[in-house]
């Protein structure tokens, strides 16, 4: 009994001692695996209430530094692919009907991904939480039934990220961010989007939020992203993240 109490006490003290910087590094390690291969479904709920559904296959390497996304459905976009390197600082898009690869500048990261509430930046920014933001720990809170660390991330000087600041609620047990609030680029007091993650499962020993819903507060729309298949730490050759593979 004393051993168990000591264990929980140690855990509690550990949680108390963690700084914002340490927590965000742990979040980054949790959400960015060395490699991953996923199949996911994105459902956009439009202002009129109608839905648009996309399925896509994603390969990721180097803790999200390299990403390849290939659309599987619907037929309209089937075969289109996006290659993002250097934490999405370099983006190429492939259009199968013209066999054309177009290099996009980083401002394209701000564009909605297939009209969804996720931007390319939201999808493939790798370790942006660490590189582009300063983290500060706020008072812990309960959110979505989880005991959470609350963090405020403020954009660093010179960063080109689209959000001026982020507020994260991170589950203490597994360092999965259950809610992320995204604030407007020019007005740090205006909430632009909110991401709510749920259905957390352990896959290959790693906690994964199988469902994420992005609520767009400006447009009153929402997009759900659901993992259909997830594999971590799979063997992915560097040649997968090249223009040659993009055109496959």
């Amino acid at each position: 009994m004393i051993t168990v109490s000591a264990f929980f006490l140690a855990g509690w003290l550990y949680c108390q001692e963690l700084t914002g910087d340490e927590i965000i590094h742990k979040v980054n390690d949790t959400i960015n695996m060395e490699t991953s291969h996923t199949k996911s479904m994105m459902t956009i709920v439009t202002t009129s209430g109608s839905e648009r559904t996309f399925t896509m296959e994603t390969w990721s390497k180097g803790k999200g530094e390299k990403n390849l996304v290939r659309y599987l459905e619907p037929s309209r976009v089937k075969g289109q692919a996006v290659l993002m390197l250097n934490n999405a600082d370099d983006i190429w898009m492939f259009f199968p009907r013209t066999q054309r690869v177009r290099k996009l500048a980083t401002h394209a990261k701000k564009q909605k991904m297939q009209g969804s509430d996720f931007s390319y930046e939201d999808m493939g920014s790798g370790d942006a939480f660490i590189e582009d933001y300063d983290a500060q720990r706020l008072e812990d809170e309960m959110r979505e039934g989880h005991d959470c660390f609350k963090l405020e991330l403020t954009r660093k000087e010179g960063s080109d990220m689209s959000y001026s600041r982020l507020i994260l609620w991170v589950i203490k047990d597994n360092f999965v961010p259950v809610i992320i609030d995204y604030y407007d680029d020019g007005d740090p007091s205006r909430l632009e989007k909110q991401l709510v993650q749920s259905d957390i499962r352990i896959i290959d020993g790693i906690p994964v939020a199988m469902k994420a819903v992005m609520f767009n507060k400006n447009d009153n729309t929402q997009t759900a992203m659901e993992f259909l298949e997830v594999k971590f730490n799979v063997e992915l050759a560097d040649s997968l993240f090249t223009e040659r593979a993009l055109k496959k």
């Binding site: 439009t46 648009r52 619907p74 309209r76 500048a105 401002h107 009209g115 993240f241 090249t242």
Partner: protein, 396 residues
């Protein structure tokens, strides 16, 4: 036409064992298009039905087969008299008996647009057959692309396939050498292309050399024996370079090609462009284009200039042009845009409001109005009339 449809059915039947094994994907789209134009006091309408049937499959680990057939039918005004769009002084220079020859017909067609096999070997890819050849980084104009000419009002529309043997040799992760041979009657007339693609910082760059035979038609000289306009075939040698990357937060691209012509005057083409997406999602771009085949004084535009432009033998009639485009997602399903094309050489310009609407997962609607503002005889003259296009595309 019926023979072509039967051929397509036969091809699909032959491939049905592979389709049944799900080794081959069958997909495509149906497109219904309405094009209207008001030229002087006349109003014209052209309706187009297009069925594109694609198949693509992995025949073996390193072998891909891909093909598509396009079936096109036209209804309404299927013969467009080019002379109706030209200034009176140009029309008056054409002998009366030849005036019926300047007609662009839209004929029902069934065509094997692309059909190729791609072998993926470890050191290189080899693509054999009729395939897309997309060259250059320009959005509307591509000086280094000697195969295709885009429609400035619809620059992302797919281009026809070209017969070619193409080898792509990756040299590390970011460099590729491409060799392409597009056969004609004999070796001399065939197109040979060599391209090197590299990467420097956040820029992709391409160096390209092409030898291709080029045909300039003389639309003032009609050969009654062959029942066609006289044409001169000459060798075109092109050296070019293009790049795309980022500068000061803007997406930027540039493309240049110098052409040495065997008989006619040498010329060069140049493109420079930039784009940006604002935080409020509005996308803007501009692209400047110079083509020294085009003329800097509109009073020098002659019948050949116009006809070569309409017949896609040259990309522009005026020397310097600017394309500007802005688009904003008004709702999550509707994008509204505005294109402005201005000829710096003659001061004429056109405004083209655009609309893109996603009706469902696999149905999209695209439309535009084309309104010209220039004086008669200029590149975008009012006398060419105003037009509208609406296109519904259903993917399957």
């Amino acid at each position: 036409m019926i023979k072509g449809v039967l051929c397509a059915i036969l091809v699909i039947l032959c491939l049905s064992p592979l389709l049944a094994q799900e080794k081959i994907d069958l997909f495509g789209y149906y497109e219904a298009q309405y094009m209207g134009a008001k030229v002087k006091s006349n109003t014209y309408q052209l309706f187009t039905n297009k069925l594109r049937l694609d198949l693509k499959g992995q025949i073996a680990d390193n072998i891909t087969l891909a093909a598509n057939i396009n079936v096109l039918t036209y209804h309404g005004k299927t013969n467009w008299d080019v002379l109706e769009f030209l200034s009176d002084d140009i029309v008056s220079s054409i002998p009366e008996e030849l005036r019926s020859l300047y007609v662009i017909p839209f004929e029902n067609d069934i065509v094997l647009d692309n059909a190729y096999v791609r072998f993926r070997f470890k050191p290189f890819d080899l693509t054999v057959g009729k395939q897309q050849v997309s060259l250059g980084t320009g959005y509307v104009w591509n000086p280094t692309d000697v195969f295709n000419i885009k429609d400035p009002l619809d620059p992302t529309y797919e281009q026809p396939g070209h017969n070619a043997l193409r080898g792509d040799v990756p040299l590390g992760s970011f460099h590729t050498a491409t060799v392409l041979y597009s056969p004609e009657d004999n070796w001399r007339y065939s197109t040979k292309l060599l391209q090197f693609k590299g990467r420097m910082a956040h820029f992709d760059y391409y160096l390209i050399g092409v030898v291709r035979d080029w045909v300039f038609t003389d639309f003032t000289r009609f050969d009654a024996e062959s029942m066609s306009f006289e044409a001169t075939r000459e060798r075109r040698q092109m050296l070019g370079a293009s790049t795309a990357g980022e500068l000061l937060g803007l997406g930027v691209w540039a493309e240049y090609a110098y052409n040495w012509m065997e008989l006619s005057d040498d010329f060069y083409e140049l493109v420079a462009g930039a784009d940006y997406t604002f935080d409020f999602q509005t996308f803007v771009m501009v692209e400047y284009y110079r083509n020294t085949l085009g003329k800097s004084d509109y009073r020098e535009y002659d019948l050949n200039d116009w006809m070569r432009y309409y017949a896609a033998e040259q990309k522009a009639i005026s020397r310097d042009q600017l394309y500007a485009f802005a688009q904003h997602p008004v709702t999550d399903l509707l994008n509204l845009g505005l294109i402005n094309i201005t000829s710096f050489s003659d001061g004429s310009f056109a405004f083209v409001p655009t609309l893109f609407y996603s009706l469902s997962d696999n149905v999209e609607i695209y439309g535009y109005l084309n309104i010209n503002f220039g004086k008669e005889g200029k590149a975008y003259s009012k006398s060419q009339g105003n037009g509208a296009l609406i296109r519904v595309r259903v993917y399957f």
